[in-house]
Protein backbone atom coordinates (compact mmCIF):
# COMPACT_ATOMS: atom_id res chain seq x y z
CA UNK A 1 0.00 0.00 0.00
CA UNK A 2 1.48 3.30 -0.98
CA UNK A 3 0.90 6.24 1.30
CA UNK A 4 0.89 9.87 0.40
CA UNK A 5 -0.33 12.92 2.17
CA UNK A 6 -3.07 13.47 -0.42
CA UNK A 7 -4.67 10.17 0.44
CA UNK A 8 -8.18 10.81 1.64
CA UNK A 9 -7.87 7.99 4.17
CA UNK A 10 -5.10 9.86 5.89
CA UNK A 11 -7.17 13.00 5.91
CA UNK A 12 -10.02 11.05 7.45
CA UNK A 13 -7.70 9.50 10.03
CA UNK A 14 -6.30 12.91 10.90
CA UNK A 15 -9.81 14.21 11.33
CA UNK A 16 -10.70 11.22 13.49
CA UNK A 17 -7.64 11.62 15.72
CA UNK A 18 -8.13 15.34 15.94
CA UNK A 19 -11.64 14.77 17.24
CA UNK A 20 -10.43 12.04 19.58
CA UNK A 21 -7.60 14.11 21.04
CA UNK A 22 -8.80 17.67 20.89
CA UNK A 23 -9.54 17.62 24.59
CA UNK A 24 -5.83 17.22 25.40
CA UNK A 25 -4.75 20.81 25.14
CA UNK A 26 -5.68 23.91 23.22
CA UNK A 27 -2.03 24.23 22.22
CA UNK A 28 -1.65 20.64 21.10
CA UNK A 29 0.60 20.78 18.13
CA UNK A 30 -1.16 19.74 14.94
CA UNK A 31 2.06 18.42 13.46
CA UNK A 32 2.53 16.06 16.41
CA UNK A 33 -0.99 14.82 15.94
CA UNK A 34 -0.32 14.28 12.25
CA UNK A 35 2.82 12.32 13.05
CA UNK A 36 1.03 10.21 15.63
CA UNK A 37 -1.64 9.38 13.08
CA UNK A 38 0.99 8.58 10.48
CA UNK A 39 2.83 6.26 12.87
CA UNK A 40 -0.37 4.46 13.84
CA UNK A 41 -1.33 4.02 10.23
CA UNK A 42 2.06 2.60 9.36
CA UNK A 43 2.14 0.34 12.39
CA UNK A 44 -1.28 -1.06 11.68
CA UNK A 45 -0.98 -1.40 7.93
CA UNK A 46 0.39 -4.49 6.35
CA UNK A 47 2.66 -2.79 3.91
CA UNK A 48 3.53 -5.19 1.11
CA UNK A 49 7.17 -5.44 0.18
CA UNK A 50 8.33 -3.31 -2.70
CA UNK A 51 7.88 -5.05 -6.02
CA UNK A 52 11.17 -5.55 -7.85
CA UNK A 53 11.07 -4.60 -11.49
CA UNK A 54 10.96 -7.35 -14.07
CA UNK A 55 8.97 -9.88 -12.11
CA UNK A 56 6.23 -11.65 -13.98
CA UNK A 57 2.71 -11.79 -12.64
CA UNK A 58 3.24 -15.46 -11.93
CA UNK A 59 6.30 -14.59 -9.84
CA UNK A 60 4.36 -11.95 -7.93
CA UNK A 61 1.50 -14.34 -7.24
CA UNK A 62 3.95 -17.02 -6.14
CA UNK A 63 5.67 -14.66 -3.73
CA UNK A 64 2.35 -13.43 -2.36
CA UNK A 65 1.23 -17.02 -1.82
CA UNK A 66 4.47 -17.76 0.02
CA UNK A 67 3.96 -14.85 2.40
CA UNK A 68 0.27 -15.65 2.81
CA UNK A 69 1.01 -19.29 3.60
CA UNK A 70 3.61 -18.23 6.14
CA UNK A 71 1.09 -15.93 7.78
CA UNK A 72 -1.72 -18.49 7.82
CA UNK A 73 0.38 -21.35 9.13
CA UNK A 74 1.92 -18.95 11.63
CA UNK A 75 -1.51 -18.11 12.98
CA UNK A 76 -2.43 -21.79 13.15
CA UNK A 77 0.81 -22.55 14.99
CA UNK A 78 0.27 -19.65 17.37
CA UNK A 79 -3.27 -20.79 18.06
CA UNK A 80 -1.96 -24.30 18.70
CA UNK A 81 0.63 -23.32 21.27
CA UNK A 82 -1.77 -23.76 24.14
CA UNK A 83 -2.43 -27.35 23.21
CA UNK A 84 -0.50 -30.52 23.59
CA UNK A 85 1.77 -31.65 20.79
CA UNK A 86 -0.53 -34.47 19.80
CA UNK A 87 -3.41 -32.09 19.23
CA UNK A 88 -1.67 -29.56 17.03
CA UNK A 89 -0.38 -31.59 14.16
CA UNK A 90 -1.49 -30.45 10.76
CA UNK A 91 -3.29 -33.40 9.29
CA UNK A 92 -2.93 -32.42 5.66
CA UNK A 93 0.16 -31.84 3.57
CA UNK A 94 0.93 -28.08 3.40
CA UNK A 95 1.73 -28.56 -0.28
CA UNK A 96 -1.91 -29.46 -0.83
CA UNK A 97 -2.96 -26.15 0.70
CA UNK A 98 -1.58 -23.98 -2.08
CA UNK A 99 -4.40 -22.16 -3.83
CA UNK A 100 -5.01 -22.13 -7.52
CA UNK A 101 -3.59 -19.02 -9.21
CA UNK A 102 -6.90 -18.37 -10.98
CA UNK A 103 -8.71 -18.21 -7.65
CA UNK A 104 -6.22 -15.68 -6.31
CA UNK A 105 -6.51 -13.50 -9.40
CA UNK A 106 -10.32 -13.67 -9.28
CA UNK A 107 -10.29 -12.62 -5.62
CA UNK A 108 -7.80 -9.86 -6.35
CA UNK A 109 -10.08 -8.52 -9.09
CA UNK A 110 -13.10 -8.69 -6.84
CA UNK A 111 -11.26 -6.80 -4.09
CA UNK A 112 -10.19 -4.16 -6.61
CA UNK A 113 -13.74 -3.96 -7.93
CA UNK A 114 -15.39 -3.56 -4.53
CA UNK A 115 -17.32 -0.32 -4.19
CA UNK A 116 -15.05 2.19 -2.52
CA UNK A 117 -17.17 2.48 0.62
CA UNK A 118 -17.11 -1.28 1.13
CA UNK A 119 -13.41 -1.60 0.43
CA UNK A 120 -12.59 1.23 2.78
CA UNK A 121 -14.39 -0.54 5.62
CA UNK A 122 -12.61 -3.81 4.88
CA UNK A 123 -9.19 -2.15 4.69
CA UNK A 124 -9.74 -0.23 7.91
CA UNK A 125 -10.89 -3.40 9.68
CA UNK A 126 -7.84 -5.25 8.42
CA UNK A 127 -5.77 -2.36 9.73
CA UNK A 128 -7.12 -3.00 13.21
CA UNK A 129 -9.90 -0.44 13.50
CA UNK A 130 -13.03 -1.37 15.41
CA UNK A 131 -16.46 -0.91 13.86
CA UNK A 132 -17.26 2.00 16.17
CA UNK A 133 -14.02 3.76 15.26
CA UNK A 134 -14.70 3.35 11.56
CA UNK A 135 -18.23 4.64 12.01
CA UNK A 136 -16.93 7.70 13.81
CA UNK A 137 -14.21 8.28 11.24
CA UNK A 138 -16.54 7.97 8.26
CA UNK A 139 -19.49 9.75 9.92
CA UNK A 140 -21.80 6.82 9.41
CA UNK A 141 -23.65 4.53 11.79
CA UNK A 142 -22.19 1.29 13.10
CA UNK A 143 -24.96 -0.51 11.30
CA UNK A 144 -23.80 1.04 8.06
CA UNK A 145 -20.25 -0.14 8.71
CA UNK A 146 -21.50 -3.63 9.45
CA UNK A 147 -23.68 -3.61 6.35
CA UNK A 148 -20.78 -2.55 4.12
CA UNK A 149 -18.57 -5.23 5.60
CA UNK A 150 -21.12 -7.95 5.03
CA UNK A 151 -21.85 -6.82 1.49
CA UNK A 152 -18.14 -6.91 0.69
CA UNK A 153 -17.75 -10.36 2.20
CA UNK A 154 -20.77 -11.59 0.28
CA UNK A 155 -19.18 -10.45 -2.98
CA UNK A 156 -15.97 -12.28 -2.09
CA UNK A 157 -17.96 -15.34 -1.05
CA UNK A 158 -19.52 -15.41 -4.51
CA UNK A 159 -16.06 -15.54 -6.06
CA UNK A 160 -15.15 -18.44 -3.82
CA UNK A 161 -18.20 -20.30 -5.09
CA UNK A 162 -17.78 -23.98 -4.46
CA UNK A 163 -14.14 -23.64 -3.51
CA UNK A 164 -14.92 -24.75 -0.01
CA UNK A 165 -17.63 -27.05 -1.30
Amino acid sequence: MSLNSDDSRIQKLIHYHYKKNKHLSPVFDAEDLYQETWIRLNESSETPPAVPAGLSEEDLVGQAVGRAAEKVFGKLRKRSQRKTAGEVQLECDPADCLPDTDLILDLRKQINDLPSDERLVIEMMRSGYEGAEIASCLHVSRQSVSRRKHKALRRLREVLGDEAR
Binding site: S8, A64, R79, D96, N112, R126, G128, R157, A164
Partner: protein, 75 residues
Protein backbone atom coordinates in the same frame (compact mmCIF):
# COMPACT_ATOMS: atom_id res chain seq x y z
CA UNK B 1 7.53 -20.85 -5.91
CA UNK B 2 5.80 -22.96 -8.50
CA UNK B 3 2.07 -22.68 -8.35
CA UNK B 4 0.16 -25.90 -8.26
CA UNK B 5 -3.32 -26.35 -9.54
CA UNK B 6 -4.95 -28.17 -6.70
CA UNK B 7 -8.53 -29.15 -7.00
CA UNK B 8 -8.71 -32.74 -5.90
CA UNK B 9 -7.50 -32.69 -2.31
CA UNK B 10 -10.63 -32.32 -0.24
CA UNK B 11 -10.63 -32.82 3.48
CA UNK B 12 -13.98 -31.84 4.92
CA UNK B 13 -17.55 -32.18 3.73
CA UNK B 14 -19.52 -29.28 2.26
CA UNK B 15 -21.58 -29.12 5.42
CA UNK B 16 -18.48 -29.00 7.60
CA UNK B 17 -16.61 -26.45 5.50
CA UNK B 18 -19.39 -23.94 4.81
CA UNK B 19 -19.58 -22.44 8.32
CA UNK B 20 -15.78 -22.52 8.63
CA UNK B 21 -15.45 -20.61 5.39
CA UNK B 22 -17.74 -17.92 6.76
CA UNK B 23 -15.58 -17.70 9.87
CA UNK B 24 -12.41 -17.56 7.81
CA UNK B 25 -13.84 -14.72 5.73
CA UNK B 26 -14.83 -12.84 8.85
CA UNK B 27 -11.48 -13.48 10.50
CA UNK B 28 -9.64 -12.39 7.36
CA UNK B 29 -11.61 -9.17 7.17
CA UNK B 30 -11.13 -8.08 10.73
CA UNK B 31 -8.03 -9.99 11.60
CA UNK B 32 -5.70 -9.93 13.47
CA UNK B 33 -4.85 -10.14 17.04
CA UNK B 34 -7.90 -12.19 17.95
CA UNK B 35 -7.73 -15.91 18.28
CA UNK B 36 -9.43 -18.21 15.87
CA UNK B 37 -12.46 -19.86 17.42
CA UNK B 38 -11.62 -23.28 18.77
CA UNK B 39 -13.87 -25.23 16.44
CA UNK B 40 -12.58 -23.34 13.40
CA UNK B 41 -8.99 -23.98 14.40
CA UNK B 42 -9.59 -27.68 14.81
CA UNK B 43 -11.30 -27.90 11.44
CA UNK B 44 -8.52 -25.98 9.70
CA UNK B 45 -5.83 -28.30 11.04
CA UNK B 46 -7.42 -31.10 9.08
CA UNK B 47 -8.84 -29.31 6.04
CA UNK B 48 -6.52 -28.17 3.30
CA UNK B 49 -9.50 -26.84 1.31
CA UNK B 50 -10.32 -24.21 3.89
CA UNK B 51 -6.64 -23.37 4.48
CA UNK B 52 -6.33 -22.93 0.72
CA UNK B 53 -9.16 -20.40 0.72
CA UNK B 54 -7.60 -18.46 3.59
CA UNK B 55 -4.20 -18.37 1.87
CA UNK B 56 -5.89 -17.24 -1.35
CA UNK B 57 -7.65 -14.40 0.48
CA UNK B 58 -4.44 -13.22 2.12
CA UNK B 59 -2.48 -13.40 -1.13
CA UNK B 60 -5.21 -11.67 -3.14
CA UNK B 61 -5.50 -8.82 -0.65
CA UNK B 62 -1.75 -8.26 -0.74
CA UNK B 63 -1.77 -8.20 -4.53
CA UNK B 64 -4.75 -5.85 -4.57
CA UNK B 65 -2.86 -3.48 -2.28
CA UNK B 66 0.11 -3.63 -4.63
CA UNK B 67 -2.15 -2.66 -7.53
CA UNK B 68 -2.23 0.85 -6.12
CA UNK B 69 -5.96 0.91 -6.42
CA UNK B 70 -6.22 2.25 -2.89
CA UNK B 71 -6.67 5.63 -4.52
CA UNK B 72 -10.16 4.39 -5.33
CA UNK B 73 -10.93 4.73 -1.67
CA UNK B 74 -11.35 8.45 -1.88
CA UNK B 75 -14.75 9.57 -0.81
Amino acid sequence: MNQQKVTSKICGSREECAPVLEQVLSFWSSDLTNDLPEEVHEHLLGCCSCIRVWIALEAASELASCDGSSSNLAG
